[in-house]
Symmetry: D2
Subunit: 346 residues, 4 copies
């Protein structure tokens, strides 16, 4: 069956396959029988691996995908009449087909009005305090995406400041870490520093974009928030019967260090591309390249030319293009892509 050559696709980190360490984790788990629904050594081991990595006794849950991970986490923080502050670029707002509203039965997203992917303390304060009447859904949580949907990375100070704002306003802080590993690699900090030590209450740690086939992890740093979450997952169709197959891969990913290597690899490719094309005539970076994405504007002729040469990437109205680098991106091909852009931009 025909696939896109991995080497030419930089459209999405969801186009990539399963990395070897995850595959090996699955292979090992596929021996013998174990109890269903997570009451098995692999699932316990994976949860333990997270607690070790984060250096804290967090509550860990495994679900199938990011839509569910983020939506369930927010539903756990909110009642239906609560609201969640987010950026206008937040994936939960723009690309989840109303999933957060569905899982929470109506919690509204309060979207920051400015045009940037990073949420600022001022945005949060504005949305959370502009009204206090009963006709406005009571703000209860804030969600930030790390790295953002535009490939930017919140600094530790930015996260801490956001968390402090949340605490001052009685809000809980959720981190959508669909590409959490990329952010860790970018900042060179520990997972703990970027989350609970900075004031994050709940993290959705992305597995799929990090090299898994299926699966995300939800970490509650405040165990009180996790009360009943196992039932919530079950009712919402997110409790795997053969749980080991979405938990064991994490062991492969975390214990081998592949999670961080994969993140660093994607970031490196993005930096490499950015370095070579940023100064080309007619080409400009739309956002700082801090993780594994490069957004650039370029003449239509350049983008058309790239497509004609077989490159795959996302395009936006008006000449924007997104290149996203997964764990399997081939650096030689990234250089070749850069070369093609150079050639076309002349």
């Amino acid at each position: 069956m025909a696939q896109i050559p991995a080497s030419q696709q930089f459209a999405s980190d969801n186009y990539a396959g399963i990395c070897p360490e995850v595959w090996e984790g699955m292979r090992k788990a596929n021996e013998g029988s174990v109890p269903a629904y997570g009451d098995d050594p692999w699932t316990n081991g994976a949860a333990e691996a997270f607690r070790t990595l984060f250096g804290t006794a967090c509550e860990v849950f495994f679900v199938f995908n990011g839509t569910a991970a983020n939506s369930l986490a927010l539903a756990a923080l909110c009642q239906s009449y609560n609201s969640v502050v987010c950026s206008a670029y937040a994936h939960v707002e723009t690309d989840e087909c109303g999933a957060p509203e569905f899982f929470s039965n109506g919690s509204k997203l309060l979207v920051a009005r400015n045009d940037q992917a990073k949420l600022r303390p001022d945005d949060i304060r504005a949305l959370a305090t502009c009204r206090s009447d009963i006709h406005y859904p009571k703000p209860k949580a804030v969600t930030i995406t790390q790295p953002t949907e535009t490939g930017e990375v919140y600094t530790l100070d930015e996260i801490r400041e956001i968390a402090a704002t949340c605490r001052a306003l009685g809000l809980r802080l959720h981190m959508d870490g669909a590409r959490f590993a990329n952010a860790c690699a970018a900042l060179g900090c520990s997972p703990a520093e970027m989350t609970w030590q900075a004031g994050v209450d709940v993290l959705c740690f992305g597995g799929t974009k990090n090299g898994m086939g299926v699966g995300e992890a939800i970490l509650f740093f405040d165990p009180a928030l996790a009360e009943g979450f196992d039932y919530r997952c079950k009712q919402a169709g997110q409790l795997a019967s053969k749980m080991r197959f979405i938990s064991a891969p994490w062991i492969g990913l975390l214990e081998t260090g592949a999670w961080l290597r994969n993140g660093a690899h994607g970031n490196g490719c993005a930096k490499a591309l950015a370095r070579r094309v940023a100064a080309l005539p007619g080409v400009s970076l739309m956002f700082p390249v801090e993780a594994n994405a490069v957004f650039l504007t370029a003449p239509v002729s350049v983008l058309d030319g790239l497509r004609a040469r077989g490159w795959r990437f996302y395009t936006f109205i008006g000449g924007g293009a997104r290149f996203m680098f997964a764990w399997d991106a081939d650096p030689a091909r990234v250089e070749q892509l850069a070369g093609d852009i150079e050639a076309l931009a002349q």
Copy 2:
């Protein structure tokens, strides 16, 4: 890491691992890059494999687990104010933590009052016609589990009669086929005969219990019912980004015939056990053994003795035991289990 020896566990077909044909299907799919969210050759191929197997142009969707498959299918048939007729043993009623109500936002299950797993046309008629006032959620669908939760198999005539009753009452017929392959193997009929040719509107075809790691398929035989179902799956957290990993395994399962072999194998083990223990003193079968489960009552001493010898099975209050045979059940061990029961029952 320690597992239960597969050879001694007959507690659940969810305890089994991934069968070789599925594994091979995943392995093949893990080459190169493909577009995300199901727009890939593997997913198209798997849907096509279902259409070939069922001999009809049905609409096929792939989701993560049975909770979601059944709940989403019923939600597609109902509005929140509708109701669904089911047996008192129906998994959707007894073991889904309110998932059908959650996904449908309130559709009520109308539970047959008699004490058997098979729903009868009379049950349906009684529940669907006893009231027509606005205070009673308007019946819209019927769900049957094939084979039932007690291991019984509806005959084709029984299904046809149920479907005729549904049509006469303006109800849609849903089949929970968590162990669909076992039913096919038991009846020796084609998938088509047991579903759309018999009047079934929607089928949830179980992959997990059939040898997959993660994944179920939903087949709409009336395409009109599938309208918007792709959005429904997305919003409900059931759209896999790397879809190929829950679709490609089906190719392995279906095209090799493993789906049916696996079902027949489990059934054969159940029959073998039933044959040897049915007539033992103090032992009796609770339900006809028609698929891959054996439910029996036996003296406590027998059940305790089995557990002491390392056998794993489900037990119920009052001396009931369930033995469930998966694709990986070892016939020699089944004979050994039968021998132990014989020895203990003397």
Copy 3:
């Protein structure tokens, strides 16, 4: 426009109009302007009247009808994955078209299996402790209807025992008091004795059946349970903009004592009818007559004869009839009805 003569209808206490004290309450409230959404003196006054009547600083909310009152109260006690124990006769189970499931986004009702309207501590214990696995929605609340749908009244001891059972099991106790006033009149106890002093956590106090046109009150005796309930009501379409018109009537009802008189009056009519017909040949009471309802079985000829003489009542399959007496039932006509039954039963 043609109505049923009030004097001949005993089908439902919802068929009755607005009692004079309520009308007067509305009339007074219809002077001048007041702020909307409950921030007005009438609403404050009505809440205060409840607190005075119940002798405790409860939180009071006013909503439009009983469906919403009970469903919202239960939703406040539960998350979607929780369950509520109730009797098989509970109105929330039999006559709300799935409203409790809708408002709670999926909380399941666990229905006692025995065939009686009064829930017993044993029923609660059985349903709340039979399972503790994640596939069974976690029990969180119990609801009792006082008086029951069959016109029976829980004694104070029965309520206390139920409440003690709830506390022992970590469950909250909700009372559906659609005809709360009738129960108070029947027991001759104070509202406090029947509710918070007996261990009830939340009460829905019925206004409509008590003589109002529109409106029910929800009383939280544990203020912690009321957190966010104002938002919950707003979001669920139960916050009246001209709130005074569903709050002020309560002042008329409570402060004049009409609430209790109305209840006692209905009860008296039921007792009067029951006394005269209980011993007639072929006639028998289906349930003890303790509030304002009389359920009886009688030969079809009797019931047909009554209808032919213009009497209105509810009938059930197999010869059952329900006579329900509202605040406006005319005792002379009740005697006449009794006379007709006597005549027909000879």
Copy 4:
């Protein structure tokens, strides 16, 4: 009990009481007994009065308030994964605490980005066609508020153009007519012209702001859209048991012509005020005064001065004020208010 003198409050048309014609309608309905839940002559009569007024055989439903009316109507048009296009000023977006999302179980509001209350065909086209992928909730309906939340009135041509856009895009058109009567009075057109003849599919006709105490009507001009809506209302807690008390008032309102007189009266007061203050120094109208609201900006000293003299109105950050005129606004007092503004603005 102390109220605000009606004569000094222009904060909201929800602060007003019940108009005489409505009161008389309720008084008449409070005679004798009638069946519950709308199966009564008053409810039939009110529905008939609507059909007469609109000159078409529409389906009519009566619910308690505007939150529910709009949310239920939109829920009837959408599945949970659909979306609704609205203006940034739409009440359903800004002031319903997430009710539309709650009733629909997650339908998302797509908010026009421009800063005006009137939705334009271009806004609709932009939001409904910018994306067609599965991650964006499929647009299914458009809602316009007539008159808008800013007191502007869509012309018939504007409505027709919007409706044509909807039809071209396969969208249904909902009209939030919380102040529908004011719009009719403003345009001098018939209800039919402004709704079904212009292409509106569903109208929520506001009763509360028009002089009722409680109650709104929902009119489906395409009966197919009303299928199951009675069940939907019941389940959502919007079916009144003593229905006549929210239906009969409409007879008083419609058949006496009070509905239109009330609307015209409020509009007249607004015009009168606007005429006198529009040209004052430092004062300016924020929006064209076309219905019963006057929004103006004025120096803080002016607004403070008004409040000091006892006037009640809504204020916004930065010196905006809203004056809203109900059926009971006293023209002499409106002149007096104008005089005070004149005096303060000098």
